[in-house]
Symmetry: C2
Subunit: 460 residues, 2 copies
Amino acid sequence: MPDPGLSPLQSSLPAAAARFGAHVLAQALAPTRAEGVEAPAEAGPALPPLPGPPSAPFAVPAAEAVPAPPDVVDVPLPADAPAPADVPAPADVFVPESGALERILRGPTGLGTSGLYLARRGEPPTPESPAAPAEGTPIPGLYHHPVPEPDSARVAEVSRRIKRWAVDEVQAYPPEWEDQFDGFSVGRYMVACHPDAPTVDHLMLATRLMVAENVVDDVYCEDHGGSPVGLGGRLLLAHTALDPVHTTQEYAPAWAESLLSDAPRRSYRSAMEYFVQAATPSQADRFRHDMARLHMGYLAEAAWAETAYVPTVAEYLAMRQFNNFRPCPTITDTVGGYELPADLHALPGMQRVIALAGNATTISNDLYSYTKELESPGLHLNLPVVIAQQEGLSDKEGYLKAVEVHNELMHEFEAAAAELAAASPDPRLVRFLRGVAVWVDGNHYWHQTNTYRYSLPDFW
Amino acid sequence: MPDPGLSPLQSSLPAAAARFGAHVLAQALAPTRAEGVEAPAEAGPALPPLPGPPSAPFAVPAAEAVPAPPDVVDVPLPADAPAPADVPAPADVFVPESGALERILRGPTGLGTSGLYLARRGEPPTPESPAAPAEGTPIPGLYHHPVPEPDSARVAEVSRRIKRWAVDEVQAYPPEWEDQFDGFSVGRYMVACHPDAPTVDHLMLATRLMVAENVVDDVYCEDHGGSPVGLGGRLLLAHTALDPVHTTQEYAPAWAESLLSDAPRRSYRSAMEYFVQAATPSQADRFRHDMARLHMGYLAEAAWAETAYVPTVAEYLAMRQFNNFRPCPTITDTVGGYELPADLHALPGMQRVIALAGNATTISNDLYSYTKELESPGLHLNLPVVIAQQEGLSDKEGYLKAVEVHNELMHEFEAAAAELAAASPDPRLVRFLRGVAVWVDGNHYWHQTNTYRYSLPDFW
């Protein structure tokens, strides 16, 4: 059975922070930048307005940045939308016990992802989620947390803008793949994963990168002509769109031109150019590292496919920590308009939280895409398949054991995050942990509701 | 013709720093930790004594660290060694013009790598370099800077300790490869590259990692049974010895045991365990990122080998920015006992300096190992070979053009470093730039003098 209700992390984090005073959490919950709301001093540098295409110099690190007054423009919100205080809390939302801290936290719609919107109280009211419930069924027994329906105005605007970017600006897909692009529902995905993004411009940072990562995977690795043979060369050259080459005057132009020579590189190059404009250098460095991990993961999977090697379960899980969603949740601070400082990001405790969150979401992907991958040619490795093969189990037994693995990773993630928040109650750290948790939940929501791509096996 | 004499970087950096006052450079030149010398407050956390094998918790980041009094023990220096003040400056050492800044800088032996030893004046005297000149001839026309002969007592001690580690502690090599291990001369290499390491313990951090990187390359990729086929899986599993897997209780033990299952993983695991003990979390994160880059570079090279693809020169140079020495110079601060803060490391200007330094040293390796690689089976790609093939040049013309490429990279590196030092005169940044420059010079010294491995072609 699924375990509905709001993420325990979202209650345990406040509980942990309470040991150090409610102000810590209040700071963590307040978005650092939103329309008309001034960023608190603790929140790191303000995000500069995003031009498109970018041409400004690199952002300066937090220590040197002078917060600029916000001047971004977001999607206008309809005047007749209900004020947040008028919206009843969903029945499954966690309601903390009474007390001073809880009164700070509860807010008009209860504690949860909506808490990330607290600073919007003074703004025009937000439209509530569409009346229709989300499509799709969660995997029975999968430990997860439902999320509020993403803001439909934002979804529409992100969907409109990302299609223009993908089709016109970088020519990421030929017109005949348009139905697949629509079926990807990336606008809904990113709005669900980043409810605290101050503006649509911020959401676009994540959305372009997500699309670019899928173009690379599709074209180089999987669905659209990819192959494990020669993949190492293709991925490295694409990686230079994220991590630029510094070379001689004679050869630099050929490298720069190479970045425009195919859809994966055009997509990476453009998405990264926008990202670097908005990110601090340390945030960009963090993202490059996560992408290098991702590419190493692709290459391990490709090597095993090429040699028809079936890894042990432990080896598969190791590979899947690299071929992983990690680059997506770890930009939550840039998309949220603040910075988790590099030294806090590097803490072993934070590295563990991020790894566990990435692993849980990635195994969730294995489970939702199980039937889709069964239909692809050859043996497509995923956790249920590897467990069944290596442990002599039936397909169903392998799948159900993989659900248990996922659930343990989720519990470990939540425990590690609560422990870290208690040990290091920096408001940026606590907000980042919540951002990762919300990303995990939004990612599950997208998988559950993406019936265009995914369907469940008949195991129950 | 080679361009002898001390690195212009080592004069241009002081010149740049002088704009901001001599105290900046004085701080940069003073080692932060050496026997009996107290670390200045600006120098970041003191390095804890290195146990072996390590068991202490991770180091804390700079902001939280409380500098401990130094209590490391180094190799005793012979009592009859000449005091530095008695050693005449080599004829080719740059001597700055007179003035207050220069008087601070010049010291008893002139400005240069020896400047990194200034804090040793109050200590027992250092033995001077062996009387015998270094063996080997520099490549004619290769722009480089000679270095003082490395401290022979340190070379001897590092050589003794690293052999015990490689043979007994991690069983990195079977006994029959001992001559190759000796021929690698890694003690001499690392002492030349890290003249400012406060102790032999610090030098061992770099030396273990260098040996481990070579074990992985030898066993998985090249000389000792490596193959491009399946390499992606092997490298990823080895990478988890640097970047640990966070997984479920059932599968974690199998992963941990896998790290002891072959020489590459045993070497990585142990070398990283020592490194993490001494490094801040951000330094460890930086190193992991550089190693992910290295592994991506190996995999691009392997993909091209497997598909018999000859890249364009620009593509080859891009690959070589990843399959690159970069992880070695970028640990110069950990080996030096201080920290370049993560935000300074991530600056675009610093990323450019590091990339150019890594590229220059790596192309230098292509040039020194040219004849060695000609003897290996199949077509071994290196810059002279790729230039000759792709630009229709003779072997000699290709080689000589590759020398020019190297020289331009070196000049660009030095210009970028001087520019960065002028723009960001933080003493840790300036010291780090000097450390990278000294590493580049020490790396050239090792290639030039390693006649066991390298010989020059007959092109002059």
